[in-house]
Amino acid sequence: MSEALVAAEAAGTGTEPVPAASGARQFWRRLRTQRAALVAAVVVALLVLVAVAAPLLTAIEGQDPTTYHPSLIDSARGGVPIGSFGGISGDHWLGVEPQTGRDLFARLVYGARVSLGVALAATVIQVFLGVVVGVAAALGTGWVDQLLSRLTDIFVALPLMIMSLALLAIVPASFPRPVLVTLVIGFTAWGNISKVVRAQTLTLKGLDYVSAARLSGWGTWRIARRELLPGLAAPVITYAAILVPVNISVEAALSFLGVGVKPPTPSSGQMLTAADVWYQAAPQYLLLPAGALFITVLALTVLGDGVRIALDPRAASRLSAGTGRKREARKEGTA
């Protein structure tokens, strides 16, 4: 959950500045051709559905994430769930949670809702900030660029964990905690994406059709909106698809340090933090949230990869006979 992957994708998505493909049709046709990405898309859709329909699913099971069932746990032995596989039974599909006896299936489903919600919302903030700062830095005059780049450096240099700890300690408890965690992750980890956006905007700025737009009399901001932003869609979407799983892990890390989402709102990070000690006594309490987190992250990353290839024709064309782009030529650039 470190920043590594975020930076990795910064370099990895240096897509060809002018994707020959355009329009949604091309994108879907390319995405469909990649089996792995398709499976991942289905899994992600399922996850989102489960998260959204959490109340419905738990109603079907007849449980809710907060009711305690003291009778289902053995108090003398530290609150271990009674029954095989952690008390899996007709009305508790995935068994019960040690110490509290709350229904594990309900907590997993609600936990997914919070974790996915926090991760997606934080990613939206990061992308928004990244694009605004990135484009402003690329289009701004010399010192504007310097200032914004310095600002980005600061945020990249700040240790995310520590700043989140401090910020989460400052805000009074009345502030809804999941929203706070989202804002904290969102506002501290946008540095890398703004670097990617700035690099891509600088490349797009040099293209002829942008000069043509200037020639036809449009102002800088209209050009930015009409010409540059669509050009940024490919790298930004790909990057966001990678950021979501990173944010899920960050939320889990914050819960580990005790400052993440607070009970009674369940989150997969919180459950993992409580569950890792139960590795021997009640293994399913650890394996289920860890498994759910792994599947979510795997699906999102594979989907992210699929999206990148679908959006970047160069990657698709790479499969044909070695007619790769001429990176050298573009860099040389005749006067």
């Binding site: 959950m1 590594a4 370099a11 600061i154 799983p245 860890a290 792994f294 992250v297 594979v302 070695g322």
Partner: protein, 332 residues
């Protein structure tokens, strides 16, 4: 080569500005943190009078800008402080004293830094081997089963939080199989062999997380380089595929990997707090989390500056390595 000197100077000035900006940000953020520092330092049962005395002793009643000014003066000229019986001096880069333990922050950092560095640098070696190796293999065996398997494994490593992997690994390896001793930090200078044995597990846990990033990075970079024209030239001259991949594709792919690696090492110094906490390694990250909990401002500012310094240093090193590897890049 004046270009290089110019580059270093610019980077140094930039770094100083960035670090100062960070220190201001941290001061402002932590100044507003709730929790009466004097009460915490003095102890829960202190009378209001005692709390006032402690607050005066730690100069907590000064306004924010005055406290920051003292911090700056300390940084440049050092400052004197009383230990009660005598007056001691905290020399030039003095980051002040910890509210809780009256230790010089610089001493705390110097005591903790080797732990974090050993953890991160050791893990770096592992994640490079794991990451780059997997990346090269999956790029070379593109589309085949090995690539899918490797991608899946690295993703598994990356997706599972360290405190789960670390603990399970520890319980299995140290607890049940008893292959390794339970990790505890042995200073490198005291006993290198024990130092390595004890850190093997933390290195592995941290490396498993970071390796995934490198695997994806190397694979993407390898694929991109393999599509370059000069690869086709060598194929057209009958050079064996294996030589092409190792000599040409890998060399081309390494440049961005170097850049990512340096950046990663910088942020891991502060970010490895989870690994440190789990394995009980008294590193920078763990101390920082404790300092934040007891709102020990000088320690927090000192630590964040050190971490910020390493991130900035790492980025500069990355750019230099990148330029050395790929002569076309001009250092700006």
């Amino acid at each position: 080569m004046s270009g290089f000197g110019g580059f270093l100077l610019r980077r140094l000035v930039g770094a100083v500005i960035t670090l100062l900006a960070i220190s201001v940000l941290v001061y402002v953020v932590f100044y507003a943190t709730p929790g009466n520092v004097a009460q915490i330092t003095c102890g829960p049962r202190c009378s209001p009078e005692q709390v006032r005395q402690v607050a005066e002793q730690l100069k907590l009643d000064d306004p924010l800008y005055l406290r920051y000014w003292h911090f700056l003066v300390g940084l440049i000229a050092g400052q004197d402080y009383s230990t009660g019986t005598s007056v001691a001096h905290c020399s030039a880069p003095c980051l002040g004293l910890s509210y809780q333990s009256d230790q010089q922050v610089l001493d705390i950092i110097l005591a903790k830094l080797p732990v974090s560095l050993s953890l991160v640098l050791g893990a770096m070696v592992l994640w490079l081997i794991l990451g780059v190796g997997t990346g090269v293999l999956s790029a070379w065996r593109r589309g085949r089963f090995t690539e899918r398997l490797l991608t899946g494994l690295t993703l598994a490593g990356w997706a599972t939080p360290v405190f789960v992997i670390g603990l399970v690994l520890m319980i299995v390896v140290c607890g049940e199989l008893r292959l390794l001793p339970f990790p505890q930090y042995v200073r490198l200078t005291d006993d290198p062999e024990q130092w390595a044995w004890n850190l093997l597990l933390p290195w592995l846990s941290l490396a498993l997380i970071e390796a995934a990033a490198f695997a994806r990075m190397t694979r993407a970079s390898m694929l991109e380089t393999l599509a370059e024209d000069h690869i086709r030239t060598f194929r057209a001259y009958g050079v064996a595929e294996r030589t092409i991949v190792v000599r040409h594709a890998l060399r081309g792919a390494l440049a961005p990997v170097i850049a990512l690696n340096a950046n990663n090492v910088g942020s891991a110094i502060g970010g490895a707090v989870l690994t440190e906490t789990l394995f009980g390694l008294p590193g920078i990250g763990q101390e920082l989390v404790h300092a934040v909990n007891v709102v020990d401002l000088p320690v927090v500012v000192g630590m964040v500056l050190v971490i910020g310094f390493f991130v900035v240093l790492a980025n500069a090193v990355a750019d230099v390595l990148y330029a050395v590897a790929d002569r076309r890049v001009v250092l700006t």
